[in-house]
């Protein structure tokens, strides 16, 4: 369970303060599939960063189960991310000098998995995404869709409980987008928590719960939207 408690995030730039996010109480239970929608600049990435333990709130607390994560050390938050979270990015963020296989091995390596196990698990995960014949390709040698599949494999290889995605389908063609959404569906069936930021209505419609962000304010979307979609 993830909970925001009176969280406020303020940015100060050139003497001006911007309230990027303000939230009295938001609770996301384990296993929920949540889409976050909202216009550009409304605070979606700020929300994900806060949930991911990467951005301290200006005030308030972020709870992960019984832990207030910003009252932990930076290293403890890294450990939480490493062991319990997976990230998906709009621009994939693969490491350019590593092959597909090596990219997927990175989170396993950070978790101290032995090299043979790293190879076995990463290979299996890439096979699951139909990339068995691309193991030794660098990101620059792969199509955009393939890159996002490598990125998904990297996210899931550590078996994360929580998946945080920022516009995961933003750069993709319909076929590749479907691959990503299918993967999320499957993760949902496996009982993982998914929080995905999206501009894409079809993608949002696949989620079981939608949050709307507007100028830093979070509100639940009417569930009728789900029926329409």
């Amino acid at each position: 369970m993830i909970r925001l408690e009176n969280v406020k995030r303020i940015y100060t730039r050139h003497g001006q303060t911007v309230t990027a996010l303000q939230c009295e109480n938001l609770c996301i239970s384990a296993g929920e599939y949540v889409a976050v929608i909202g216009p550009s600049g409304s605070g979606k990435s700020t929300l994900l960063s806060l949930l991911g333990g990467m951005l301290s709130p200006s005030s308030g607390r972020v709870w992960l189960d019984e832990t207030s994560i910003y009252e932990q050390s930076v290293v403890a938050r890294s450990t939480i991310r490493r062991e319990r979270m997976g990230f998906v990015f709009q621009t994939f963020n693969l490491i350019p000098y590593l092959t597909a296989l090596e990219n997927v091995q990175v989170p396993l390596g950070l978790n101290g998995v032995s090299l043979p196990d790293q190879t076995a698990r990463a290979t299996a995960m890439l096979q699951r995404f139909g990339l068995a014949d691309r193991l030794n390709h660098k990101p620059s040698e792969m199509s955009v869709g393939q890159q996002q599949r490598v990125a998904l494999a990297r996210t899931l290889v550590n078996d994360p409980q929580i998946i945080l995605a920022d516009e995961p389908t933003g750069n993709l063609d319909p076929t590749s987008r479907e691959v990503v959404l299918k993967a999320f569906d499957m993760c949902h069936e496996e009982g993982r928590t998914i929080i995905t930021v999206t501009h894409d209505a079809t993608a949002a419609a696949r989620a079981k719960r939608r949050l709307v962000l507007n100028e830093g304010q979070i509100s639940e979307e009417l569930s009728s939207f789900a029926k329409v979609a």
Binding site: S45, L48, S49, G52, M54, L55, V74, V75, S78, T79, R81, R82, E83, M85, F87, F89, Q90, T91, N93, I95, P96, Y97, L98, E102, Q105, V106, P107, L108, G109, L110, N111, L115, Q118, R154, D166
Partner: protein
């Protein structure tokens, strides 16, 4: 995938940036290692010359230049051989041995060598006049270290040319080869060789000394004079004094005796070398300072640029769960590898340079000094890691939210 393979794969991806970022360190280490090697050996050479040739005196033609004690006779000028008799007849205190030498370039089966005619000690004892002169020799100083006139067993082997700079017996048709000559000409004991139109038998070969003596061929003085049609002349007369006190009085006395010659001691000759050493030593500290400044700064800026370039990668690694410490180590390890590799290559280049050009540059043979080499590589590595410390810390402080930003 671990820290080490991440560092390694990133380095392999950009070999040219690796070369450019560590070039200053590489060159600095190379220069430092070369200079230090030559300096250390040159200093050892000076102290070796001073201790082994402490009481030795050279009588040279007036115009001869002074660079190196061992090469002082290769000056092209000559003295009359009579001076040898004059020195012996004068019966000066502290004269142990007198060794006249005549040196000239020659070709041994196509190999350039220095042919050195030397008068064996046995010929002095054989000549009545010198025998008599020896009777007039005043009693030696108290406390002389090199006591005996009697040739020891070791003095009778050709190797004595290296150890006492003289030889007891050498027939007119015999030669002794320096280590370099023996090695390169492939002649060995008992072989017959042609030299300057004469035929000789190889009596023996000398062990390596690291001096110009290695490229000499020693023959009988009078044979060399005959073959070269030079008349009764010598290039240098080496007077082996019996102790250092004697050397002090001997020089002015010899100068008085032979006004047309130049009389010098080892310490005078090594003055030039000491000067060179001082210059080299100063230079090496200057190089060290420059190495630290330029090498450190260029590596620090290269690592800083690398951090800037890889901001998103760093953010992503942190999002995946890398700790700030891991990110810092990523760049420190990269610097460590760069420092180690640049230091090692620079050290090898410096060593080769010193070994190859040391003999010409400073007139000394240079052998690798493992301690110095290890220290240079260690210092380069330490410098690289220290230079990368600040940029690596900056990398560790980067905001992981960077991973959500567009390119």
């Amino acid at each position: 995938m671990n820290l080490r393979s991440l560092v390694w794969k990133e380095l392999r991806e950009r070999p040219w940036s690796v070369v450019s970022s560590s070039m200053a360190i590489l060159l600095g280490v190379a220069a430092l290692v070369a200079i230090r090697h030559v300096t250390v050996h040159s200093e050892q050479e000076v102290s070796r010359q001073l201790s082994s040739l402490g009481a030795n005196i050279l009588i040279l033609p007036k115009e001869a230049s002074l660079q190196n004690y061992y090469a002082a006779d290769r000056n092209g000028q000559t003295l009359p051989e009579e001076h040898v008799t004059e020195v012996l007849m004068a019966g000066l205190a502290g004269v142990e041995k007198v060794t006249p030498k005549l040196s000239m370039p020659a070709s041994l089966g196509g190999l350039e060598v220095t042919l050195t005619g030397i008068l064996p000690q046995s010929e002095f004892t054989a000549q009545q006049a010198w025998q008599t002169a020896a009777l007039f020799t005043p009693r030696k100083h108290e406390g002389c270290k090199k006591a005996s006139h009697e040739p020891s067993e070791a003095d009778k082997t050709p190797e004595s040319l290296n150890t006492t700079r003289s030889i007891e017996n050498l027939e007119k048709n015999q030669i002794v080869l320096g280590a370099d000559v023996a090695e390169r000409s492939a002649f060995s004991d008992g072989d017959t060789v042609e030299l300057l139109g004469g035929t000789f038998t190889v009596l023996g070969t000398l062990s390596r000394t690291g001096t110009v003596d290695d490229s000499r061929v020693f023959a009988h003085l009078h044979t060399v004079q005959e073959l070269a049609k030079s008349g009764e002349v010598v290039s240098a007369i080496e007077v082996i004094g019996c102790c250092e006190d004697a050397a002090g009085d001997l020089v002015p006395e010899l100068s008085k005796l032979l006004p047309d010659a130049r009389v010098v001691t080892v310490s005078q000759v090594v003055q030039t070398q000491v000067g060179v050493n001082r210059l080299m030593s100063g230079t090496s500290w200057f190089v060290l300072g420059t190495l630290i400044l330029v090498g450190g700064a260029s590596l620090a800026s290269a690592i800083a640029a690398n951090v800037r370039e890889r901001r998103r990668e760093i953010g992503t690694l942190m999002a995946i769960g890398a700790t700030p410490g891991f990110v810092q180590r990523l760049f420190l390890m990269k610097a460590l590898v760069l420092g180690l590799v640049a230091g090692t290559i620079g050290c090898v280049i410096g060593l080769l340079t010193a070994v190859l050009i040391g003999p010409q540059w400073a007139g000394v043979a240079v052998l690798p000094l493992p301690g110095l080499a290890v220290m240079a590589v260690g210092a380069a590595t330490l410098l690289a890691v220290m230079a990368a410390y600040w940029p690596a810390r900056q990398a560790a402080k980067l905001d992981p939210c960077l991973c959500f930003q567009e390119v």
